[in-house]
Amino acid sequence: MTAATALAVPRSERFVAGMRRRVALTGVSLVYVLLAPLALVLLCTLTVSLGVAVTGVGLLLLLVLVPLAAQLAGLHRRLAGRLLGVTIDAPYAPTARGSWWARLRGWAADPARWRDLAWTYVAVTLGWALAWLGVGLGLAVVWYAIFPGVYALVPEGTLANDYGFVNLDTQPEAYLNWVLLPVVFALWWWLEPVLVRCIAQLDRAMLAPSRAALERRVAEVSQSRAESIDHSAAELRRIERDLHDGAQARLVALGMNLGLAAELLENDPEAAARLLTEARDVTTSALGDLRSVVRGIHPPVLADRGLAGAVQALALDMAVPVSTTIVLAGRAPAPVESAVYFAVSELLANVGKHAAADRVSIDVSHDGRALVVVVEDDGVGGASPSGTGLSGVARRLTAFDGTMDVVSPAGGPTTITLEVPCALSSPRTSPSSATD
């Protein structure tokens, strides 16, 4: 308490604020006390389920319990984050899509899920004890404050405090309990913030991403950054090649035709006319080349209509019927839109080349956390995520922490799910969200 703050804020106001804060913190302790039984239930059921996992029933229970544990842990993360004034991120690896077995295996391989389990042990022991202490201190203050009043209300002899040297068993003596009130109040005043902070720190230590997880994340980010740099360098090289062999070469030919035509105009007007006609055709094809290069850099329809319109445009270009269901409440960031567009374009090209499908469906949505695109076809299946086309798609998405999941048994059908975490801007209904 420095002189400066003492001057700025009157003592009484600071006291009121301090009281308010401690009353609130006592309430928080109570919340922690009430949440602990949930952790206890999870702890018991999780432990039992793991024990009987071999029977199959345990596995089914785990499918429900593991996400529930994550929910409870998430609540504690938010609470601790608010108390400590920090953001505590969820440390989980992305849950695998597809079969329940794949999901369970993914969870078993994720250290963060095991740390959730370890946390429930701590939450119902040390955490619960600290929370009770916090609540107890608050209750003690109230109890000592109202003791004489309560003494007067209850029948004689019900309440008697024998402190050894003095036995409080009369109404006047009951007022002597107020002597202890400042002691209890002081304890509450000093300890309540400390206790709640302890609980929050404990939760943070158990639930925040571990150092190993952060290191793994850094490794992932460096890897995906290197890949996206490689990728963009390759793209630039491709564009340079396209221009060099396409439009530029055609313009040279055009100049050559026109030059020769000019020379021939007098002596051989017919040949000159032929050259001019040819020159006109060359301009058309040069423009065509430029258009396709531009489309390869940033498709105009993507710029005009966003992802929803651009995906529909891709669908219309396909020889097989493609149904699109696009539900987007806004637009994803431009780089994400572009990456997803080219990913979908590549997937559709793959379908066209290899799948021999009769029907394709594209489903684009946003689940509040990530943009989700599901491309499904009824073709021959057997698509390999490690093939050049699909691994290129995955590489495109890693730059945005996106994932690609391929389910393609031999004989089909093939379902490819793309997920790119992002927020949608401008919450308006996209005008082109429709089904065709």
Partner: protein
Amino acid sequence: MRVVIAEDLALLRDGLTRLLEAYGCEVVAAVENAEALAEALTRLEPDVAVVDVRMPPTFTDEGLRAAITARTRRPGLPVLVLSQYVEQLYARELLGSGDGAIGYLLKDRVADVATFVEAVRTVAAGGTVLDPEVVSALIARAPDDGPVSRLTSREREVLGLMAQGRSNAAIAAALFVTEKAISKHTSNIFMKLDLDPDDDSSNRRVMAVIAYLQS
């Protein structure tokens, strides 16, 4: 005049063939990669080769390297290198590959058909032809307070055309003045740049100017 053309894009290969044939050249071979070029150069012994820098299989500078290799095998083999970009580095390598009979032009120059064919003939005759872009970059990097800055703007123009490999007659035609006026300019230039004025044969003159500018 027997010409070998090496260009990987069919559109341009055919265009060049047609153009040179229209001007009375005999195109003895039109090939699409460096290997076939090397083979054609040894087998057909043409008077001049017109070579694209970038060709299969790596699409980098095969044409350039093939030209330089061919010139080490047969010194003085006339080669005109065409490219969609000009690089000072490539110009240096080409000029360093022997005395004269070398050309380096942007592909754009083929549109000026007569000048292009003239360039092919110059190279075939042992002359040196450099693209105006190469020359203007060379002149631009001459120090501001050096001897080049002492030239009048007309003299600089003449210097540029000289470095491109034009003869006095061609420079006179391009600038719409008499040949006599040009020779006055050239001797002024030689004096101001402290070059040997006796070096008046067309090719040695170009080499002297370029050597001066590249130093």
